[in-house]
C-alpha cells in the first residue's frame, strides 16, 4: 500500500485589502492647518468645549462643530506614561515619555511624545510646548509636531487640568 503524504498542519494564506480613507470635513480643516504649522481646534456651538483634534462633532452634544479656534503650541501635561519596554517597530529609544497634554484653550487632551527632559523629571501639571518639524517636511498630519518639551514655566495647578484626566 502506498504511504499517504504527511498531513498538512499549517497553511499560510496571504490576505491583503487596500483602503483609501478620507478624513472627513472637520479633520480635513484641521490637517490643512497642520500643513501651515497651525493648530486649528473647533468649538462646540452648544456646550462651548474646544476639540483638538476636531472630529466633526461634539461627542457630548451630538452636534457638528464649525467654529475654528487657533490654539498656541503651549499646554499642560495631565498624565503620562514612561515607556521602558522595547517592542517591534519602536521608533524612539527607551526609556521615553508618552504624555497626555491639553493645549491652552482646548478641552480635549491628546497623546504626544515628550522629550528634551529626563524621564524622572516629568510630572502632572508640567508646562510644555510643541516642537515642530522643519516646514519643508510638513505633511497633513499631527506628526508635524515632533514632540513636546518643557517650557520651564511654573507647573499648572491641579485644579486647572483635573477635568481633563
Amino acid at each position: 500500500m502506498r504511504e499517504l503524504p504527511a498531513p498538512i498542519k499549517m497553511v499560510t494564506i496571504p490576505t491583503r485589502l487596500d483602503f483609501t480613507i478620507t478624513p472627513g470635513e472637520a479633520p480635513a480643516r484641521f490637517l490643512k492647518g497642520m500643513m501651515e504649522g497651525r493648530i486649528l481646534a473647533e468649538r462646540c456651538p452648544a456646550c462651548g468645549k474646544v476639540y483638538m483634534p476636531p472630529r466633526g462633532s461634539c461627542a457630548t452634544c451630538a452636534v457638528p462643530t464649525r467654529e475654528q479656534v487657533e490654539l498656541s503650541s503651549k499646554g499642560t501635561v495631565t498624565t503620562f506614561c514612561v515607556v521602558n519596554l522595547p517592542f517591534y517597530g519602536q521608533a524612539v529609544e527607551i526609556p521615553y515619555v508618552c504624555a497626555s497634554v491639553v493645549l491652552d484653550g482646548a478641552d480635549l487632551p491628546f497623546f504626544c511624545l515628550l522629550a528634551e527632559c529626563p524621564v524622572e523629571n516629568v510630572r502632572m501639571g508640567m508646562r510644555v510646548e510643541a516642537v515642530w518639524c522643519d516646514p519643508a517636511e510638513r505633511k497633513p498630519s499631527l506628526e508635524n509636531i515632533k514632540y513636546l518639551r518643557p517650557t520651564g514655566e511654573p507647573d499648572a495647578p491641579y485644579e486647572s487640568f483635573k477635568e481633563h484626566l
Binding site: T15, G56, P64
Partner: protein, 355 residues
C-alpha cells in the same frame, strides 16, 4: 410579547463615494433627524444599538467613533452588532421585551467605497478552503444565479425585468442613488461582469446611514399621536442562518429565509407591501418564493437595494421604508427583510402592522 413599534425613521441619501464626510459626519444628521422626528427627547432614549462593520471601514473598533455622533453623555446604555442595522433592531426589540425601558435608538452606517467592496466581502467566506481562492461577492452570487437558471427557476430576461422595475420605482424615491427608465432588451445587450450577472443585476456600491426609533406600548401611541403617524407595530421578528460553506447548500433555495418568514408569521394574513433586501436581481425572485409572497404584494416600491445599497444601513432602511407605509396609513401590513453573508446566508424577517 410586549408591543413595540417603529415610531420614526431617517436615512442619508446614499452616494457612490463620499470623499467629503467621514462616517460620523454622515451619521450625525441622520440620528438627529430620527430622534427629532420621533418626538422623544434625546435623553429619554432607553437603549442605543448600532450595526456596522470594521472590514468596510478598514479600521478596528470603528463603531466606537460613531458614538461621537450620538451624544453619549451622560453615559448611555449602548450596544453594537457587527452586522446590518436590521440585526441591531432585533437586539433593541429583544431589549425592550425586558420591560424596564420604553424606547430605543437603532442605527446602521457604512462607507463601502473606501475599500474594494466585492473583495472585502470575500473575507466573510470560509477562511481555509474558499476565501484563499478570492472569489469576490459578485462571482459567488453568479454561481447562485447560474444554479437558478439551470434549474429553470429564473431567466436572464426575468432578472433584467427586476432591475427595470426597481429603477423605475426608484424614480419616486428621493433617496435613490440609481433610478430611471430602462428596458430589459437593451440591458441584456450589456456584457456580463460575472456570467450570468450583468451590471444591472448587481446593487450599486453606496456610502450611507440610517436610523430608527422604537418605542413600546403606550409610549409609542403617545409619540405617534403627536407626530400624526400610525405606529408601525412589530408583530413578528425572526432571523436565521444557513451554513457558511457554499458547497453544502442548495443555492436555489434559502431555508433560513423561509423559516424566518414562517416564524415571523408572514403567511397568517395578506402582505400589502414588502421591502426585501436582494442585492442581486435573481435573489429577489428567490426570496419572493421563500418568503411566501403572493402576486398581490407590492415588492420594493422604494426601488430596493438595486437603487442604493449602503452596507450595514440598507437592511435597516428596508424596515424603515416598510414602516413608513404603515406610518402614512398607506398599508395595513408590511414585511421587511434583511440579508447578510454570501448568497443570502443570513436572513431577517420583520412583520409590521398598523392598529
Amino acid at each position: 410579547m410586549r408591543e413595540v413599534a417603529v415610531v420614526s425613521f431617517a436615512q442619508a441619501k446614499p452616494v457612490r463615494r463620499d470623499i467629503v464626510h467621514n462616517e460620523v459626519e454622515i451619521l450625525m444628521p441622520v440620528v438627529a433627524e430620527a430622534v427629532a422626528s420621533s418626538g422623544l427627547a434625546r435623553d429619554r432614549i432607553g437603549f442605543t444599538v448600532s450595526g456596522s462593520c470594521d472590514y468596510l471601514a478598514g479600521i478596528p473598533f470603528s463603531f466606537v467613533m460613531a458614538l461621537d455622533g450620538v451624544g453619549a453623555w451622560p453615559p448611555i446604555e449602548e450596544s453594537h452588532v457587527e452586522m446590518d442595522g436590521a440585526w441591531a433592531l432585533a437586539e433593541a426589540f429583544t431589549r425592550l421585551q425586558h420591560g424596564d425601558i420604553d424606547s430605543a435608538l437603532v442605527f446602521g452606517f457604512g462607507k463601502s467605497s473606501v475599500g474594494e467592496l466585492p473583495e472585502v466581502l470575500t473575507l466573510q467566506l470560509d477562511p481555509y478552503l474558499v476565501a484563499p481562492l478570492w472569489p469576490d461577492s459578485i462571482s459567488v452570487a453568479a454561481l447562485q444565479a447560474r444554479a437558478m437558471i439551470d434549474a429553470g427557476l429564473c431567466s436572464e430576461r426575468q432578472m433584467a425585468e427586476v432591475a427595470v422595475r426597481s429603477r423605475r420605482d426608484a424614480k419616486a424615491n428621493p433617496f435613490a442613488q440609481l433610478a430611471g427608465d430602462f428596458d430589459a432588451a437593451s440591458l441584456l445587450k450589456e456584457p456580463c461582469i460575472s456570467s450570468p450577472l450583468r451590471r444591472h443585476d448587481c446593487a450599486p456600491i453606496s456610502d450611507g446611514a440610517s436610523a430608527i426609533v422604537l418605542a413600546a406600548g403606550d409610549v409609542a401611541r403617545a409619540l405617534c399621536e403627536k407626530t400624526g403617524r400610525t405606529p408601525a407595530w412589530i408583530r413578528g421578528l425572526d432571523h436565521r442562518v444557513d451554513a457558511q460553506n457554499l458547497g453544502v447548500r442548495d443555492l436555489t433555495t434559502c431555508p433560513s429565509a423561509r423559516i424566518a418568514a414562517q416564524k415571523a408569521g408572514v403567511g397568517t394574513a395578506a402582505v400589502d407591501v414588502a421591502e426585501i433586501y436582494a442585492p442581486f436581481t435573481h435573489q429577489e425572485i428567490l426570496l419572493r418564493r421563500e418568503l411566501g409572497l403572493s402576486a398581490s404584494t407590492k415588492i420594493n416600491p422604494s426601488g430596493g437595494v438595486l437603487a442604493g445599497n449602503p452596507m450595514m444601513a440598507a437592511g435597516l432602511i428596508r424596515i424603515g421604508e416598510a414602516a413608513s407605509w404603515i406610518h402614512r396609513g398607506d398599508a395595513r401590513r408590511a414585511l421587511a427583510h434583511a440579508t447578510s453573508g454570501p448568497c443570502l446566508q443570513q436572513n431577517l424577517v420583520c412583520v409590521l402592522e398598523g392598529e
